[in-house]
């Protein structure tokens, strides 16, 4: 068990490093990133200076090595040693220390990428958690309902509605909720993010309702379909037939035997979907202008803010990898059929 976990973690680290490498190569392939840092009125002299100050004149292998080193032990900015030494003398406040795991420094935001991500993460996590609870609860509930009433009108309606909801683009749903439900009909207050510290749990929940709903609807539709399929599949397994033959009531068969087998794979899926959401709900956050990681990515992309984009990809990848490992280990506890080797 522990050996398995260690092996998975090692593989995870290798995966993460390969990811960093791929991202690095992809993003730096386009040429000198200093150009985007340099701004609109960039002169050749300024470009040379910026290239040097940010270390973009170094070979990409050196830059990658230093980046990895920064991840492990932290880094100081600006990265050019001579420039930093001069600055340390003239204006030590301007030398920025970025503690491990240092994801980089964004000239555009005048902040370390870590600080940027820390600032935007609460919104994303809030939306993700709220949406997750919403979609798991209703998704599984309606999914089981549809499976139990398979072929009946309730099942047909649920399947039909989920098909349509599933096909609706997120930005369409979001725009509709914002323009009609919030602004035109005034059914809910205009959605703005309020942290728990500012507005208490109540204010926080109210602020999250529309974006979380926008996001949850799509997943809910997917989970109704998946839950329904899993439950139906598990109900056709041999051991269910055995249970029924033993004379157990339909309710016991369903809840004790059927659901357990069906919901275990759902658990791992949900874990991964949740992890993927931690990268930020790009579209939902754009529609509602919620300052989450997805919006940060959109903004960073518009500003050609490469350090932030790289940092976000790494954080998102790490979330997926870690969740993968967790889910696999958790799986062994929940499903007795699975033995980890």
């Amino acid at each position: 068990m522990i050996a398995y976990a260690i092996r998975r973690i090692l593989v995870g680290i290798v995966l993460l490093l390969s990811m960093v490498l791929v991202v690095f190569v992809l993003f730096f392939a386009s040429g000198n990133p200093a150009k985007s840092v340099c701004g609109k009125f960039c002169t050749p002299e300024k470009l040379t200076q910026v290239t040097k100050v940010y270390g973009y004149d170094q070979p990409i292998t050196t830059q990658f090595g230093e980046f990895i080193q920064g991840l492990a032990v932290g880094r100081d900015y600006p990265v050019n040693d001579a420039y930093r030494a001069a600055l340390e003398k003239s204006n030590p406040d301007l030398v920025i220390h970025c503690a491990a795991p240092c994801l980089g420094y964004s000239q555009h935001d005048a902040a370390t990428v870590n600080a940027d991500i820390a600032k935007y993460a609460p919104v994303t996590i809030s939306i993700a958690v709220f949406a997750f609870i919403f979609w798991i609860f209703f998704g599984v509930f309606f999914g089981v309902l549809a499976a139990v009433f398979k072929g009946k009108w309730l099942d047909r309606i649920l399947v039909g509605v989920t098909l349509v909801v599933y096909a609706l683009p997120t930005f369409f749903v979001g725009t509709f909720l914002l323009q009609y439900v919030a602004i035109k009909w005034q059914l809910v207050p205009y959605p703005t993010y309020v942290s728990i510290a500012d507005g208490g749990v109540g204010g926080w929940l109210v602020g999250l309702t529309l974006p979380a709903l926008t996001l949850a609807l799509f997943y809910m539709a997917a989970y109704v379909r998946i839950t329904r399929a899993f439950v139906l599949e598990s109900l056709s397994e041999d051991y269910i037939r055995t249970a029924r033959a033993k004379g157990l009531t339909e309710r016991v068969v369903l809840f004790k035997h059927g659901l357990r087998a069906a919901l275990t794979p759902l658990l791992s899926m949900a874990g991964l979907d949740f992890a993927a959401l931690l990268a930020g709900a790009v579209i939902t956050e754009s529609v509602f202008n919620y300052q989450g990681l997805g919006l940060l990515a959109v903004i960073a992309n518009q500003n050609s803010d490469l350090p932030v984009l790289i940092g976000l990809v790494i954080v998102a990848g790490a979330a997926v990898i870690i969740m993968n490992i967790l889910v696999d280990i958790l799986y062994a506890f929940v499903d007795p059929r699975v033995r980890l080797r």
């Binding site: 609109k40 960039c42 200076q49 301007l94 005048a110 602004i183 207050p189 903004i299």
Partner: protein
Amino acid sequence: MTKKLLSRVGVVAISGALAVALAACSSGGTSPSSTSSGPTKGGTITWLDTSGQFTATDPVGVYLGEEIAGFRRLVYRGLTALPISSNKNPKVVPDLATDTGTTKDGGKTWSYTLKSGMKWQDGTAITCADLQYGLSRSYDPSLVSPGGGVGTVYFGSGGYNLIDPADPSYDLSTKYVGPLTGTADAQKHFDAAASCSGNTITYHFQNAWPDFPYAAAALFTTDPYEKSFDKGTANLFTINSDGPYKLQGTTFDSQAGGTFVRNSNYSPSTDSTTVRGAYPDTVKISFVDSAETIAARLIANSGADSSAFSMANIPSDKYSEIASSMSSRVVTSTSPYTRFLMINSNTITDPNVRNAIIKATDQAGVIKANGGSKWGTPTSTIVAGAIPGFQPNPSTANNNPAGDPAAAKALLAKTSNPTPTIRFAFADTSTVIEQVAAVLQSGWEKAGFKVTLMPISKDAKPGYYAQVGADPKPIDVFYSGWAADWPSLFAVIPPILQSNPKGATFGVGFNYGFYSNSKVDALIKQATASTDTAEQQKLLNQADQVAEADGAYVPLANQSNYFIHGSKLGGFLPDVASSYYPDLGGMYVTK
């Protein structure tokens, strides 16, 4: 976003000193919202804007017109200021300084003495050294980036050229890089160029700058900056206030906004209510996703939004939702912006082809796609109607606004290729701009042109202006706009029409079309040498006429403003001081 792409500085202050005769404003006059009672103190005003608009709040990094307009009233005081006024030619008044400046040599040196009793938000007194320090920061390329660097355009050797009088040949704009990284020698020269003596600062210029007091009011470049507050680039989104409000918290959030509360160290007795009424207790800048959402919220006018306003115009797709019952909340005014197309003179070298493009362009269609007369009116020049010395360009004034394909065809028939291709580039930021491109394409095709549209997306690398400003480029015509950096023809004609230096790979000023004509250059030179305002204007207008007869650019529209605000907001007035954005200085919450 469009505003940012339009111009480098959205600043137009209509200079009283320069104003000779203002052309009649083309569309809807300014109408302050009427309220029976006078301004009252208290309450919260919400300033709605689209997120990501503000690229900096550090005074030397700010270049967006609406930001300059708002922050001037909230947090950043200048040496001088323009008052809140519906007057089209307001007179500049002293702000931090005791007077609007004194000069003994027709504008080559300017002196200002600070009032006493003024403090930063931390309680420290504002000194002459702060004024010096503030100006010196605008020489640091790392602080003004990205998008800034405006001040040095005028203070540099290409402009009025701030110099050390003891060593006039020392070029500060290339040798001095600001207080943080500049050499001691360069710093010495700078300190002599903007010299302090007690509470009096004196600026020394090589070229006379007669309307410098208006520059000091319009730009943040000469504003003071507290040295102990300076953390370099890390200060991009910080605000150290000397105005009636201060930012709550340490940094301004460029995506969410910020809350401004009263600054206890601000002394109203050193200020005037004609500049800063400072009526509300709180001003909240709140960013949302789009101009549509802003307009929708202001139309809905519910809760806190009833005391909200926006600097953004109502987008045309919301016009139909402006009901007549909202007429007391809707305000129209003139705008400092002109829109035009630049022609790449290096790829379209034949003046006949360039003129054919101008003749074939469907100006009226472009305006209709943008929202019609509420958005703008056809124009014949790059000069906004509100600029002193404005006159219609005789070369294009008689063109048909709907385009004249027959005349264009006739011109093309004189050339070797009667069906040339136009590669048209535009910053692809909205549906409207895409529709504008389609209208232009359709008009040109009627005249026989082949058209290739080149939308440049928001996240394109390099970005729009980097692509259209470069030379050579695979672009023939591109969408553009301009709001004068300075309320004078000098801030319009030379930057756009003066030849670029030989071998330039990127347009200097705003001559991204790489237009080059020795006659135009000569006229501009003559105007610079002249000391008579009327003659300067005559020469510059002549330069515009000569260039346009040669097909330098395609004039499109003189823009208008169309605003809506909440029902509980009083004192809503787009004025000259705020570049025809609503002036925050006079706004208040009605009881």
